[in-house]
């Protein structure tokens, strides 16, 4: 290799470095203009950004992220439709962005322990830099880093989504249009609306595209139906059972409240099951939509059948609107693929002026009726179950872009919390320990709801810990090995569950603040939800964690040597 080529090789990394240093320089230029730029917190924050963009692991992660965000649109298929492709792309790319930046945040937080180990802290704290400025600066730097890369990722995702829209042709699925505005109840009104709604029996070429805009690239508020109150029925049944001596054979005394609760659950489960020719009325409240002509609401449901029909198509009848409350009544006769979520679009004036909506669902196949259709379809007898979120009423309240922006804030809040966790851990522990602890907390925050549910199994240990402990020691002293082992297991379970409960009280529920699925389903990432995220994750928890970090770091000897 010639000397000249060695020179070129040496020069190349320098060029790369120079190119990379353009990023912190750009940050610096922006931050210099802000009040933050003139403070020590700003100086430390800028330094974190400069370090972040030069960390090899950060470059690897950002490269992977870029690959996913930029390459996925050309390889994703989804369910084959344009809507499915966009949904899959949004879901994957947004989830990966959150995950990668979360992991990167933990890696980035190593800078505190690195500075302590490599003793740059000697120089830093010989300057007029207060400990709190250092801690807050580190956190602010990570937040700025995350903000910029999250914003960049979101812009790329939004741009690439439009690439999909332009390049992928919509695929027609005669069942996905899902709406058959044929009715003998108000046929005239429906005829007027036909042009707006579209006719499921004659699907247009753009139905897939239309569905994308009405079901995904929008922000719809969703409302669940009101489950009827079965308390009275449950109480009555309990009294009757009591009278009949149903509980006489029970080995333990029956807890009235618990038993009534159980019976309520049973009645509700029964109510959710709709047999053939059965009907259910779903009542919705607070449907604060624009009822003017041209506007629609949507009913989202999933048909979970006990027995699939041979053609896997579920046919049903929905009567939407309560004429008695001043609403227009519509009859919808959808044909949908079983086991999936589907949307039925109904003119918004089906909502009563008081914001309530009544929906009567009939488990009948209207297409089998020769009175209604000249060529009736075969009749299948299906029993179906409506889950708790099985039927939702949705109405547009905002734009997809606004939704994306709110999701951005929600994700940033989580990253801000994670940055604070990283700062806390690295200001107390050395890097590997801190990194591990931060990862565990990240995983716990992500799995909190799941873990919380699994903790329920520990509930059977109702006895106080002291009682279990005394039982354990008594068993040991009396030489009863079996009892001692049992008590020990109970004790261990109590300690584990107690410890986990304590952790779950401190760790936020990241899955609760995960708005990706909501956005992908075209539901509204509400401002209240975002504000809750800001308040809970940032104002409360991040501030507390940073305060704790400052407290622990305040009196720490940065040049500590222990033997």
């Amino acid at each position: 290799m010639s000397v000249a080529s060695v020179g070129v090789l040496k020069e190349r990394p320098r060029r790369v470095r120079r190119a990379l240093s353009a990023v912190p320089r750009a940050f610096r230029a922006v931050i210099n203009l802000s009040p933050l730029g003139r403070t020590n917190v700003g100086a430390v924050a800028l330094h974190v950004v400069a370090e972040g963009v030069r960390m090899k692991i950060a470059l690897v992660f950002l490269g992977l992220l870029a690959m996913i965000v930029l390459a996925l649109p050309f390889s994703i298929k989804g369910d084959g439709s344009l809507t499915g492709a966009v949904q899959s792309y949004l879901s994957f790319s947004l989830s990966f962005t959150g995950f990668f930046l979360g992991v990167l945040t933990i890696f980035l937080s190593r800078s505190i322990s690195d500075e302590l180990v490599h003793r740059q802290s000697f120089l830093l704290f010989s300057k007029p830099l207060a400990r709190w400025q250092y801690i807050v600066g580190k956190w602010a730097g990570m937040t700025i880093f995350n903000f910029v890369f999250l914003a960049f990722s979101f812009l790329c995702i939004y741009g690439m989504m439009h690439v999909i829209l332009r390049t992928k042709p919509p695929v027609e699925d005669s069942y996905t249009s899902g709406l058959t505005p044929t009715s003998k109840v108000d046929i005239e009104r429906l005829a007027e609306r036909k042009a707006l709604i579209g006719d499921g029996t004659e699907p247009t070429q753009s139905a897939d595209r239309l569905r994308l805009f009405t079901d995904v690239l929008t922000a719809r508020h969703s409302t669940m139906f009101k489950v009827p109150d079965f308390t009275a029925v449950a109480e009555e049944e309990f009294e009757q059972r009591l009278r009949e001596g149903f509980y006489d054979a029970a080995t333990e005394p029956v807890d009235r409240a618990k038993e009534i609760e159980r019976l309520k659950g049973k009645h509700e489960a029964r109510w959710r099951i709709i047999p053939v020719f059965g009907q259910r009325v779903f009542e919705f409240e607070n449907i604060l939509c624009d009822r003017s002509p041209g506007n629609f609401i949507q009913l989202r449901y999933r048909a979970e059948l006990y027995d699939y029909p041979p053609d896997e198509i579920f046919r049903s009848m929905w009567v939407v609107g309560d004429a008695g409350k001043g609403a227009t009544q519509y009859v919808m006769l959808p044909r949908h693929i079983v086991g999936r979520f589907h949307t039925i679009k109904v003119p918004a004036d089906c909502v009563a002026p008081d914001g309530t909506l009544s929906v009567l669902f009939s488990n009948v196949n209207p297409y089998a009726d020769p009175n209604w259709f000249e060529t009736p379809e075969p009749m299948f007898y299906n029993t179906l179950e409506i889950t708790r979120d099985g039927v939702k009423c949705l109405f547009t309240v905002g734009s997809f872009e606004g939704n994306l922006l709110r999701l951005f804030v929600l994700m940033l809040c989580k990253l801000m919390f994670l940055s604070a966790i990283g700062v806390l851990m690295t200001s107390v522990f050395s890097y590997p320990v801190a990194c591990l602890a931060a990862f565990v907390l990240y995983a716990l925050a992500g799995l909190r709801s799941f873990m919380h549910e699994s903790l329920e199994q520990f509930d059977k240990y109702d006895e106080p810990v002291t009682a279990t402990m005394s039982a354990f020691f008594n068993a040991i002293s009396s030489g009863e090995g079996g009892k001692a082992s049992e008590s020990f297991q109970t004790l261990a379970a109590e300690f584990i569950s107690g410890g986990l409960r304590l952790i779950f009280k401190v760790v936020p529920d990241f899955s609760y603040f995960d708005g990706v699925e909501t956005l992908v389903n075209g539901e509204n990432v509400s401002l209240v939800w975002v504000l809750q995220g800001v308040g809970e994750l940032v104002v409360l928890q991040t501030a507390c964690i940073l305060g704790l970090s400052i407290l622990l770091f305040y009196r720490r000897e940065v040049s500590e040597t222990s033997f």
Partner: protein
């Protein structure tokens, strides 16, 4: 930065300071510093001497608030080391250059300048001056991770000076430097000392300390073993050294006889002094530099940065000083005398001009008390000229102190 040096308040005060390192279980294990009491006065170059593990660095870390004393009291500029505000007046060069490998020299100085909240323009100007001063301007965009130890050391020194500190703490400043770099650092320390900076120098390189310090304290095992002015500590009062141009054998014998006759003492040693290896090495390197031989290392260091009191004013001082040196050292003086030789009037003038305050006066270079009275008028005249040249930068300090 306009600051005032409180004349009465010592820059550093340590009273009965102890530091014991503890183990993981907080049990006391290693006594690093034991009952240390010392004082560093404004404007002096103070040496902290001791072998490895004697507690020098621990003392410095306690001064900076990086470690907390187990017992005793520490004050810097009369305030506790934990007081963040006093750090504005301190510059610190640690024993190793703990710099960020991924930043280049300019970014490093900019970062530390930001921590002193220097305005962007001032930061940029000072960065340029310091890079010029430490001879690394041509390597300013290289990441520090690629620097040699000596180059990193120079950047370390530059960062210590970015805030124009009143008090400079230098922990082993010459470690990792070549003889030329060592010489430059020593010259710099002397020059900064002359410009009124208080300097605390920690080192086990005795020659370095001897060359630049006014006062020293010697530590061993965390305890203070000796303290005082170098001239007093090092003077060998029962011996006399005479240095002159080369003498013939006969003259030497005559002197020997004379000494024996008059003092009844024998002449112990008569020899020709040798130039030091350091001087020789430096002359070789400087020849190479004059011949523009290429190097990827540090270039020759520039003058003291203007904001530190260098620049035009510094040049004038150096020119005058070298002229004075020439007149003094017309005879080759290679051996280090025990006591500084009496200096001519022009040297005294320069010493007084370049020292911002009249006290404390280092004993080793103290102007003789019997200096001719006729030199007083030129001193005042030159001082005014210098003050004008220096843009009156040091005058507030001087006025505050006088």
């Amino acid at each position: 930065m306009v600051t005032t040096v409180e004349k009465s308040v010592p820059v550093v005060q340590l009273a009965g300071v102890c530091k014991t390192f503890r183990d993981f279980w907080r049990r006391p294990r290693v006594p690093a510093v034991v009952d240390l009491t010392l004082e560093v006065r404004p404007g002096e170059v103070f040496g902290l001497l001791g072998p490895n593990g004697s507690g020098k660095s621990t003392t410095i870390k306690m001064l900076l608030g990086l470690l907390y004393p187990s017992k005793g009291r520490i004050a810097i500029f009369g305030r506790a080391p934990s007081d963040v505000a006093i750090k504005n007046r301190i510059g610190f060069l640690p024993e190793e250059s703990y710099l960020y490998r991924f930043l280049d020299a300019r970014e490093t100085l900019d970062y530390f300048g930001r921590l002193f909240r220097l305005p962007p323009l001032v930061r940029r100007k000072r960065t340029d001056m310091l890079l010029e001063m430490v001879g690394l301007k041509h390597e300013a965009r290289r990441p520090i991770g690629e620097y040699s130890k000596g180059m990193a050391r120079r950047i370390g020194l530059a960062q210590a000076l970015i805030n124009d500190p009143e008090f400079l703490i230098l922990d082993e400043p010459t470690s990792g430097l070549d003889p030329l770099g060592t010489r430059q650092i020593k010259d710099l320390i002397r020059e900064l000392g002359r410009h009124g900076k208080t300097i605390l120098l920690s080192s086990h390189m005795l020659a370095d300390v001897e060359d630049v310090c006014d006062r020293v304290t010697i530590l061993y095992g965390g305890r203070q073993r000796a303290a005082g002015h170098l001239a007093e500590l090092l003077s060998v009062r029962d011996k006399t050294q005479i240095i002159t141009d080369q003498l013939s054998r006969q003259t030497i014998e005559s002197i020997r006889d004379l000494v024996l006759r008059l003092e009844h003492k024998d002449v112990l040693d008569v020899s020709s002094p040798r130039t030091s290896l350091e001087e020789f090495f430096i002359s070789i390197v400087e020849d190479a530099r004059r011949a523009n031989v290429a190097t990827s290392g540090a270039a020759g260091a520039g003058a003291l940065a203007e904001f530190l009191g260098g620049g035009k004013a510094g040049d004038v001082i150096r020119r005058l000083e070298s002229a004075a040196d020439t007149s003094i050292n017309s005879a080759a003086v290679a051996a280090t005398p025990v006591r500084a030789p009496d200096e001519g009037p022009s040297k005294q003038v320069l010493e007084q001009l370049s020292r911002p305050r009249s006290e404390p006066t280092p004993a080793s270079v103290a102007p003789s008390s019997d200096a001719p009275a006729t030199t007083a008028a030129p001193i005042e005249a030159d001082a005014d000229v210098l003050r004008q040249l220096m843009g009156d930068r040091t005058s507030p300090k001087r006025e505050a102190s006088s």
